[in-house]
Amino acid sequence: MQRQLANMKQSLFDQGYLDEQFIQLEELQDDANPNFVEEVVTLYYRDSARLIQSIEQALEKSPLDFSKLECLMHQFKGSSSSIGAKRVKSECTQFKEYCRVGNSDGCKRTFQQLKKEYATLKKKVEVYFQFARQIGPVEKACRSK
């Protein structure tokens, strides 16, 4: 089971969904906060949903307010990077670049892509956490002295 969990995690990393930062979060996890990572990720999705909505609304405007979009995206990027959402983060960077050059289509396209990655990651980590919770107690038991 442990191995399965590890494999799951590994595949997430290999596929580029998560990066180093995720490991940092995991290191923060301890007995006092056994589900720290899950908590943070949940927090992220909750908070970022708000941002996604704001960006969506801004994208519907015409013409696009690129500086505002860039600002919103900057926040979103910061959040995403802090949980290690690698793919999402790279989409954010791309989006910001399109904003910088004023490419509306590019922005819109990238945003769609971003949403996709965002959703995919959410599903994957949910599975992961579920699994971790299942085997969690087992680990704790093993670790406890």
Binding site: Q21, Q24, L25, E27, L28, D30, D31, A32, N33, F36, E39, V40, L43, Y44, D47, S48, C71, H74, Q75, K77, G78, S79, S81, S82, I83, G84
Partner: protein, 673 residues
Amino acid sequence: MNLGVNSKSVTTSSASWKSGDAVSDQFPAGLRVLVVDDDPTCLRILEKMLRNCRYKVTTCGRAEVALKLLRDNKDGFDVVISDVHMPDMDGFKLLERVGLEMDLPVIMMSADDSKSVVMKGVTHGACDYLIKPVRMEALKNIWQHVVRKKKNEWKEKDTEQSGSVEEGDRQQKPTDDADYSSSANEGNWRNSRKRKEEEDDGDDKDDSSTLKKPRVVWSVELHQQFVTAVNQLGIDKAVPKKILELMNVPGLTRENVASHLQKYRLYLRRLSGQPQNGLGNSFLGPQDTGFGSISSLNSLDLQAYASSGQIPAQSLASIQAAALGRVTNKSGISVPIVDQRNIFSFDNPNIRFLDGQQHHSNGKQVNLLHGIPTNMDSKQLAALHQSGQPFGNNMHVNVHSPSGQSNSLLTQMVQPQSRTQMLNEVGGNQVLNFPSSVGQPGLSQPIPGSVFSRYGIDNVRPLTYTSLSQPSSVVEFSRSQGMELSGNSIPLTSNSGIPSYTSKGTLQEEVNSEIKGSRGFLPNFDAFNELNQNRTDNWDLQNVGSSIETPQHSNVQGRLDVAPSILVQPVFASDHRNGHIRTTSVNKAAFSAATSLGNGTNFGQQLTPSHADNSLRIKTERLPDMGFQSSLFPDHLGQEDLMSTLLKQPQEGLAPVENEFGFDEYQLDNLPV
């Protein structure tokens, strides 16, 4: 609080940790951190990380709330971590507020790692700037900022309050900071003022007792003021205190004046050691001295210079006279070869003026002076003028130039060399060039060649000056002042012919001085020629940087033989050739020499004023090349300016030069006159 929570993971230390007063023992544990970030995800993560570091964390999602928290708990926090982009308040603004009101160390954070933003953080006073996503390691060491700040505060308190350090007195901190900054400002103010005054990269003059005394740069203007004051008081009665009062230069201390006076006295002594050292005024000042010291090839001169030069050298170092800058440059170059020359050249610039004046009669010496003139402040030039007549002096300006033939030789040598050197050096030494070559004359033929080569530039320069400065234009060379001073046909102008980059300004003087000195050189002429030739070689070698130089060199070369006499000794050259006006003709010759780059035979032409123009032009041309040289040339009498400019440039070179000079001087001294 957290401790309790965290202590779970900490098995052994939890106990002590929980004890409460473990904070002080376990520093940095217990550090009180306030985190401000509008992103809840980041906030949570940071909080966790900091807790894991065993810090006491308080989180805040809004800047306004954070400020309130800080105000309500004045001493409740040790450090603040804030995000840059926040909706309600800009992170930098918060940073400023915290710094002003609470004077706490603030760390900025952002996903934005662009240089401009980071720079903004620095300028706003942030202790640190973290790039998101923040890692644990980055947060582990934030305690250093707290310690550092406390340490600085205490230090300030110490300095401000003479040692009574009040630990942890936050209130004092701001005061201390204020005091500290004010004193620093004062120092800076002083420095900037000094800079303005002296147009030098002067060292800061900081009177703060906590700092070591910055060196004073005796710029041309400053020196002039000094000399004026001294003259007013009378050289015998001139005491540092009174001089200081008369000078009325803020930031100048009695000690500065005293050391400068000492050098000046030596300089004068040196001059008087030479025939007609009426140059008193031309005390180039530390700069010159050092410079001159080098040039004083002549044993006499050298010695005089050596002593003065040495001092100046040292003082120069401290003074950073422009001359030094130049000298240093040169010395670097020429020193090796001709210590004397260097000295000479240095001196020359200084002396040039003096010599120039004297040289007129002397001819040879004059040249030397010319070279140096640059160093010499206009004041000196004036002095030169005055003393111009007694040719005997002429060399003394050069200080080293052994009055007589040797001088002439030197002069010659100096000249050609200076020229060459100048030319060569023009690129670099400018100032030095001159002296070196000039100094040489005293040395004796054999040396000159070498010297010249080294100094070539120096010499060269003076030459150019001479041309420019045709007797009257001494001023312009500022260096060549010497030339003008001499009034007598200071062949200096011929110096102008010297490719020397008068730009070096000093060159001019050197030239002038050389010319002057060269008078005596006639006999040396031959030697000079040889020298010239050597020099020309040198020139070529040295032509660094100044294209003009080269041409000049070539001219000089050709001329050297011819010109040397011309250049160097506008005085004597003319004597030779023209047997008359050396100055004018010489100048011309020099001039033409300069002008007729490559025209060995221009000599004849030289005599014509047109040449002078040419040389002037050449010089001016060179100036531009030289960069600062050009500034030198401009008829600014202020050789000082030139010198300063020159000096400034080579400033770095100063150091080495000085050593060299000092070194050289020494040698010179040993030279039997």
